[in-house]
């Protein structure tokens, strides 16, 4: 984080003044280390150093972007020129309302605690990588192998500067890892696993992770194909994150501007069960999306999106808030190589009051949904909110798990699903994510299988 960057920026700022435009520089850099074992031997050792600078030039209502990984003065000048040219290409937009830049402001919480350089020996890091594989294999005799596992350490920083005088920096460190086990029993094999994200090396608990990875991989070995029926579905808190992923685009003010939001015209209306409340909370340190400022340098703020089922707000950045004449929520999101967008920080669903056991007893028969095997792109249509997602889980009868099921498609519509939430769990998953949601019990979903 040399102040060479400041010199580079000042030169461009002077040029931008001459050209009669505003400029913003977003720089992201960092170092990372990844270690992976295979068959008890070191398989991969990757060390990377990356840096990338993204320039946004604002010319009235038009904005152009360019980015580079080459930090020479010539490359910065060239990148600025490309961004300027891109802005000037949008001739129709220049006369629109000028796009605002973030102003300098005092940030009460710079979140310096997220940067925790730790002097951990390479031997200890290697041991974590080795144990991820070894302990997962040892955890269950049906674990045939661990084809995917790895440990990573990351030290990353972000800096935003603009021609309004803003200059903000944030740096953070983290450790993460994963182990995916291939379990076999007879002709049947399943892959599943577990991962972690920690800021403190000493808190990494590999034995616990390994046994969870093995448990998840072996749990559905005896699965049978599901029948086709409509039923009550309990979304395990991990897989329930998918509900937020389906909803996220429609909560973005950008999708209103683009006229693609499913929630257009629904502000202050009831869109979900009264049990369902949702916040965007960049201050929640349990979430991986915690941050002191957004991608254009605006101070983080907390936003109520849905309160007891009622849609209260959309997420915005400065440009979108101005266009929609809606409150600004400081949710600018971009990387140096992408254009300005809107994105959530941590999406946090308010906790319910039911324990897992109580939820399982809420109906005589339900499906406990534990895996969406293809993720969202295997069958979510953002234009309509309809989903048809290949899934796996367990049948639950009278509060007891009676067997695993696979080879079925869970389908419905995300807006209907929100209205059909009948209960929420009383805890979040311990694993860090930017999506905090408890178990969600939903009535009336379609389960279509081949049995």
């Amino acid at each position: 984080m040399s102040d060479l960057l400041k010199e580079r920026f000042d030169e461009l700022k002077t040029q931008a003044q001459k050209d009669g435009v505003q400029i913003e520089l977003l720089v992201v850099g960092g170092e990372s280390l990844s270690l992976c074992y295979q068959g008890g031997k070191m398989d991969e050792f990757e060390s990377s150093q990356t840096q990338s600078a993204g320039i946004r030039v604002i010319d009235g209502g038009a904005q152009g972007y360019a980015s580079t990984e080459n930090f020479s003065p010539e490359a910065f000048r060239r990148t600025y020129s490309a961004a300027l040219e891109n802005a000037r290409m949008l001739v129709d937009k220049k006369s629109e309302a000028p796009i605002p830049l973030a102003k300098t402001a005092k940030i009460a919480d710079l979140m310096e605690d997220l940067y925790r350089p730790q002097d951990v020996s390479m031997d200890r890091k290697l041991a974590v990588a080795r144990d991820l594989e070894a302990l997962t294999i040892a955890a269950d005799s049906r674990v045939h192998k661990v084809p995917y596992s790895g440990f990573s350490e990351s030290d990353g920083w972000v800096r935003v500067m603009n021609s309004a005088g803003l200059d903000l920096t944030h740096r953070r460190t983290s450790f993460s890892g994963h182990a995916y086990a291939l379990a076999k029993e007879g002709e049947v094999s399943k892959i599943s696993g577990e991962s972690f994200y920690e800021r403190d090396f000493e808190k990494i608990d590999i034995p616990e992770l390994a046994s969870e990875a093995a448990r998840r991989a072996t749990a559905r070995l005896a699965a049978r194909p599901a029948k086709t029926e409509k039923m009550m579905v309990l979304w395990d808190r991990r897989v329930a994150r998918t509900i937020l992923q389906m909803l996220e685009d429609s909560l973005s003010g950008e999708s209103l501007v683009e006229n693609t939001s499913l929630l257009k015209g629904r502000l202050n209306q009831t869109i979900a069960s009264s049990l369902f409340s949702l916040m965007d909370d960049p201050f929640d340190r349990r979430g991986a999306g915690v941050r002191p400022f957004d991608s254009e340098g605006c101070v983080s703020q907390k936003t109520t999106l849905i309160e007891k089922g009622e849609l209260k707000s959309f997420l915005t950045n400065l440009e979108v808030a101005q266009k929609l004449e809606m409150p600004h929520t400081a949710n600018a999101s971009r990387s140096p190589g992408s254009s300005m967008s809107v994105g959530s920080s941590n999406l946090v669903v308010g906790l319910g009051t039911s324990s897992r056991d109580e939820l399982l007893k809420k109906a005589p028969r339900m499906l406990l949904l534990t895996d969406l095997t293809g993720g969202l792109h295997a069958g979510y249509r953002a234009a309509s909110g309809d989903f048809s997602l290949p899934a796996e889980g367990f049948l639950v009868e009278n509060g007891e798990i009676t067997g695993a099921v696979d080879q079925f498609v869970l389908s419905g519509n995300v807006l209907e699903l929100l209205k059909n939430v009948v209960a929420l769990g009383d805890a979040y998953d311990q694993k860090a994510s930017s999506l905090l949601i408890p178990d969600v019990l939903v009535s009336d979903l379609s389960v279509a299988g081949g049995a």
Binding site: K41, M42, D43, E44, F45, E46, S47, S48, Q49, T50, Q51, Y65, A66, S67, T68, E69, N70, F71, E74, A75, R78, T79, A82, N86, A87, M89, D92, K93, K145, P147, L182, S189, K190, I191, P225, T228, K230, E258, N259, T260, L262, S338, G374, G375, H377, A378, G379, R381, A383, S384, G385, D386, S388, P390, Q407, V409, S411, A448, G449, G450
Partner: protein, 474 residues
């Protein structure tokens, strides 16, 4: 000013062989038995429309190097953005210092590889007039809006990429190449009596963008619009096991996902593929021949040389149902003993290369599509596939069908939405009963261990005797 200087940077990027030689010496200094260095500079641009006018324009440069070492079967990979002599040697030393070994290998002297560029390139993307590119997008926008009054948004986009790479390794290989990629696509949103739907499609090739000048934009824009409108009235697909006719072109994505990934040595060497140890065995119906071909001129997944500097190849994977070859990179070759197939690929220098597909397709057969339809009493015609995924360890796959129709009594009838195909690659291969003669390829982006890369998929129309269709319970 900016265009000229950019051009000179890209063309001057080649690192002197003497510098690469020094870096390779440093890389082998602690006993690694193989080293290579990958240098990259990539220029990319994207442009998109929204609300009938140009909305976004981005340009980006990627600039860096990756130094890779092998200590037996162990890979060490170090990246840097510093392409100076000192920077490259520093990265090489950093990689070497991670380990010491008894092996003692001296790098061979570098010799420049000669190969011919089979892809025609026109003007460099930054040289072409942008007004012309804007016109292509405007044209798509206007055609879509004229096609239907139900259209609420049209977002056409153009992506261009120009990549210059250089590879040197300790066995004396030195090679450099240029690659251009162009892709044009569009998304159309419609609303019909409160029902919202969308559809998208795209076309692309290896090469510069002038091919879009003569492209059938009308066909693309009208088809995408028609399909979005069609979905607003389509009913949900039925569920259950049934015969499935899969269309040509992008239909090949199922083979790519469900079988192709399992043939990459990245999976085979880890014993994480159902195709392990099956070379020479029958893995598919005898009507199935499958090929992974990096040599197709202007092919979206084509190359001259791969990212390990080897000439690319046309590799027959399955011949008349018999497994003939895996997809092999340098490390995969070490681990499995099979010769490399010119398939080492990566998104950019930030990723170590891995064995990856190029243009992968099921070869043309002899059946007639009309006859194949006539064979089906009740089933699904999957005309255009959507997204999907596969578990390479088990070969289990699932795919959304973006455009599907019911086939009833030998006739293609009403459209349906929300269909998903579920199965296991190796089972499905055996159930491909008929293969038409009409082979076509389509473009995709393939994401895996070494990042997201252009890969083409393809096939003629095929009839799978039975697949699980996930639809919706009534």
């Amino acid at each position: 000013m900016e265009r000229e200087s950019l051009k000179s940077t890209i063309e001057d990027m080649i690192i002197q062989p003497s510098i690469l030689q020094k870096a390779l010496d440093a890389a082998l200094s602690t006993g690694a038995d193989f080293a290579d260095i990958f240098i990259e500079e990539t220029w990319s641009s994207s442009m998109s429309f929204m609300d009938r006018k140009p909305d976004r324009a981005l340009v980006g440069e990627i600039y860096g190097a990756g130094v890779r070492l092998f200590f037996g079967h162990e890979i060490v990979y170090v990246t840097t953005n510093d392409l100076s002599e000192a920077g490259l040697i520093r990265a090489a030393k950093k990689a070497a210092q991670t380990k010491t070994s008894q092996a003692s290998v001296s790098p061979q002297a570098l010799h420049e590889s000669q190969f011919s560029n089979v892809h025609r390139f026109g003007m460099k993307p930054w040289e072409r007039d942008r007004q012309q590119k804007i016109k292509w997008l405007q044209n798509l926008d206007q055609i879509a809006r004229q096609r239907s009054s139900l259209v609420t948004q049209v977002s056409p986009s153009l992506l261009e990429k120009f990549q210059r790479i250089q590879v040197a390794n300790s066995q004396g290989l030195l090679a450099s190449d240029e690659r251009a990629y162009s892709r044009m696509g569009m998304q159309v949103h419609v609303e019909n009596q409160g029902v919202k739907e969308g559809f998208h499609d795209n076309v692309g090739h290896m090469g510069t963008s002038e091919l879009f000048e003569s492209y059938d934009a009308k066909g693309l824009a009208e088809n995408v619009t028609d399909k979005a409108v069609m979905l607003t009235t389509a009913k949900f697909a039925p569920a259950g096991e049934m015969p499935v006719l899969i269309d040509n072109a992008f239909g090949g994505v199922i083979f790519h996902e469900a079988c192709g990934h399992g043939l990459e040595t990245t999976a085979v060497a880890k014993d994480a593929s159902v195709f392990c140890g099956m070379l020479g065995q029958k893995v598919a119906h005898e009507s199935v021949t499958a090929i992974d071909d990096g040599t197709i001129p202007q092919g979206w997944g084509s190359l001259n040389i791969d990212d390990e500097g080897r000439p690319t190849q046309k590799t027959v994977l399955i011949e008349k149902g018999i497994l003939k070859s895996y997809i092999v990179d340098e490390m995969g070759s070490r681990q499995t003993g099979f010769a490399p197939t010119g398939s080492g690929r990566r998104q950019n220098y930030k990723y170590a290369p891995a064995s990856r597909m190029r243009n992968t397709y099921i070869a043309a057969g002899t059946d007639r599509f009309e006859d194949m339809v006539r064979d089906v009493d009740y089933g699904i015609y999957a005309k255009k596939m959507g997204g999907g995924s596969v578990n390479p360890g088990t070969g289990d796959f699932n795919f959304a069908v973006a455009e599907a129709y019911i086939v009833r009594n030998g006739r293609i009838e009403e459209p349906v939405k929300g269909a998903t195909l579920i199965g296991r690659g190796i089972d499905a291969l055996k159930k491909i009963e008929k293969v038409s003669s009409d082979l076509q390829l389509a473009t995709g982006m393939c994401g895996s261990v070494s990042g997201s890369i252009p890969a083409a998929v393809g096939q003629p129309q095929i009839l799978v005797s039975s697949l699980l269709v996930g639809g919706r319970a009534g």
